[in-house]
Amino acid sequence: MACLHDHSCEDHDCSSDWSLYKHIDLSKVSALNEANPGSVKSVFKAWEERLNTSGEHLESNEGDPELLVFIPFTSDVKIKSISIVGGADGTSPSKMRVFINREGIDFSDAQSMQAIQEWDLVENMQGVLEYQTRYSKFQSVANITLHFPENFGGDTTKIHYIGFKGQATQLKRDVVATIVYELMPNPSDHKTRAESGGGLSHIE
């Protein structure tokens, strides 16, 4: 499902809507079949920069248009819609399949697994198209995997921008990593007003 912006962007600041990129854990973003390792990090940027094709972009290996992008978030997010700006001359991806909260997916897994949602993409050179999600399924997303199986006939697949619209919650899905257990209370943690002011209660 694709929708067009039915207003001009001067009315409100679109960039605030597309600010989920700030909650992406960039150091852990990875892609499979990318031509330049690490180039996947360059596609997560502010809304204003989405048409900026001069910098680095994500490109797949020669002769193989498939791409798999793994994106972890720093906290759980709710994703309302996704926007993709691809390359010109048939290098834009034509299909997108996403998987939620699954780590370590590779191409054979992606091809055999049932995706949470799939979209047929169109060439989105102006960056105005967004693809809405079935919001109920995207309520607490800790990480998302995007699989682009095909493109519009180009030798490689190029992606300049991936944007997420939605809300960030402050929750984290991860298991609690470090817990400190106290065997005995530490008096310094429990200073009372009476102690500083002088009074009957006295903690030694």
Binding site: L32, N33, P37, N61, D64, E66, E103, G104, F107, S108
Partner: protein, 405 residues
């Protein structure tokens, strides 16, 4: 320290019976595998290694990726030689084993020992390589054993298809006097990508490369720390004893010379002792000494040339530096301070002596660690000579002296 899961593919085909690698190709391969497992698990404790065989009845996984070195070494026992190697199937099974690793954060790597002829087509190998690259699996190939025409070409093509940013390597090991493991130690297969090697690999390399050159006293501190420590302590004691004896001799000899010569000569003495002790030690040690000696010599000579009032501060700083690096030298310098403060008149005489180019050059030449052709030393000599004599004459003299040496 990259976190990695590795699958090692062993060739246990009939071609491994051959003895052109001592003791047999298969044994050499097994030793190499043991070393690689050790290096991987040492470089990062969370690394896992698995092993599979490619020949025999078919591709068989002996142990899935695990960090338990004992399990890996145990499974290498009782392996039978036979059959033909199936390289393509081996790599594919290895890829599958890596896919099901427990820790998905580990990088995937396959190490293949290709000892027998490769019967697959180049195209098929390239396809496999591309699939590995697509799934970001790195591949290391050890080409040994049979030297089939086309085998090298096929393996190089496979590497080219897999290689992504130099994470994959190929090593050709011809049969020869060196063991397979020794040759592999220095390759990037062992040392990892640009890490400079784990301690294990470096220690093993040094030990294998010929004992003495790698380590002080020819003993690996990793293997026998107590022995290494004992040797070092006894060397220090011997050095101290020799230094004391030499100092005494130097004192007697130096009574003819002026006080200011003390630092140079006792330094000479200490350095000669040190040098004689150090002849059995590694090259790097001597170069370090040379640098120290150069600096200290310059300081000593500068000290003796300077105005005693000014030189006091210099001496103090020198003392602290010297004592930090060498207590014997500190003693020598202290003696020189005592002497120069007592003996003001001797300064002029001493300067005359130092002005004597030939004398100074002979001292410098006798110091084994000091290279008279060193530009810093040359400069020092030149600057020294500036005071009593004209510069050109000095430049000629030292160069003559140095040419003679």
């Amino acid at each position: 320290m990259v976190l990695e899961a590795t699958m090692i593919c062993i060739d246990n085909s009939e071609w491994m019976r051959n003895g052109d690698y001592a003791p047999s190709r298969f044994q050499a391969q097994a030793d190499a595998v043991n070393l690689i497992c050790g290096a991987k698990t040492q470089s990062n404790p969370e690394n896992t290694v698995g092993v599979l065989t490619m020949a025999g009845k078919g591709v068989r996984v002996l142990v899935t990726p695990t960090s338990d070195l004992g399990k890996i070494l145990a499974c290498m026992h009782g392996l039978e030689i036979g059959g033909e190697m199936n390289l393509a199937a081996g790599i594919q099974v290895a890829q599958l084993a890596l896919k099901h690793r427990q820790n998905k954060k580990q990088q995937q790597r396959i190490i293949v020992f290709a000892g027998s002829p490769v019967k697959h087509e180049k195209k098929m190998l390239e396809m496999i390589g591309r699939k590995l690259k697509k799934n970001s699996v790195a591949l290391d190939i050890v080409n040994f054993g049979e030297e089939d025409e086309g085998k090298t070409e096929k393996l190089e093509a496979l590497l080219a298809a897999v290689n992504n940013n130099d994470t994959s390597h190929i090593v050709h090991v011809p049969s020869g006097p060196n063991a397979l493991s020794d040759v592999l130690i220095s390759t990037p297969i062992f040392t990892g990508d640009g890490e400079g090697g784990s301690g294990f690999a470096a220690a093993a390399a040094a030990a294998a490369a010929g004992g003495v050159s790698g380590f002080e006293f020819g003993v690996d501190p990793n293997l026998d720390p107590e022995l290494a420590l004992a040797l070092r302590v006894s060397m220090e004691e011997e050095r101290a004893r020799q230094e004391a004896a030499a100092k005494k001799a130097a004192e007697d000899a130096a009574k003819q010379e002026k006080g200011g010569e003390q630092p140079a000569s006792s330094q000479d003495a200490t350095m000669t002792e040190r040098a004689s002790a150090a002849t059995s030690e590694a090259e790097n040690k001597t170069t370090d000494l040379m640098d120290d000696e150069n600096a200290l010599l310059q300081q000593a000579l500068a000290m003796s040339m300077d105005d005693p009032a000014i030189s006091h501060d210099v001496k103090d700083t020198d003392m602290s530096e010297a004592s930090a690096s060498d207590p014997e030298l500190a003693l020598a310098l202290q003696m020189s301070i005592a002497d120069s403060t007592k003996d003001q008149a001797s300064q002029s005489d001493m300067s005359k002596l130092l002005a004597d180019q030939s004398f100074v050059s002979s001292i410098l030449a006798s110091l084994p660690g000091v290279d008279p052709n060193d530009p810093s030393v040359k400069d020092l000599l030149a600057s020294m000579q500036n005071q009593p004599e004209p510069k050109e004459k000095n430049d000629d003299k030292p160069s003559d002296e140095e040419e003679k040496k």
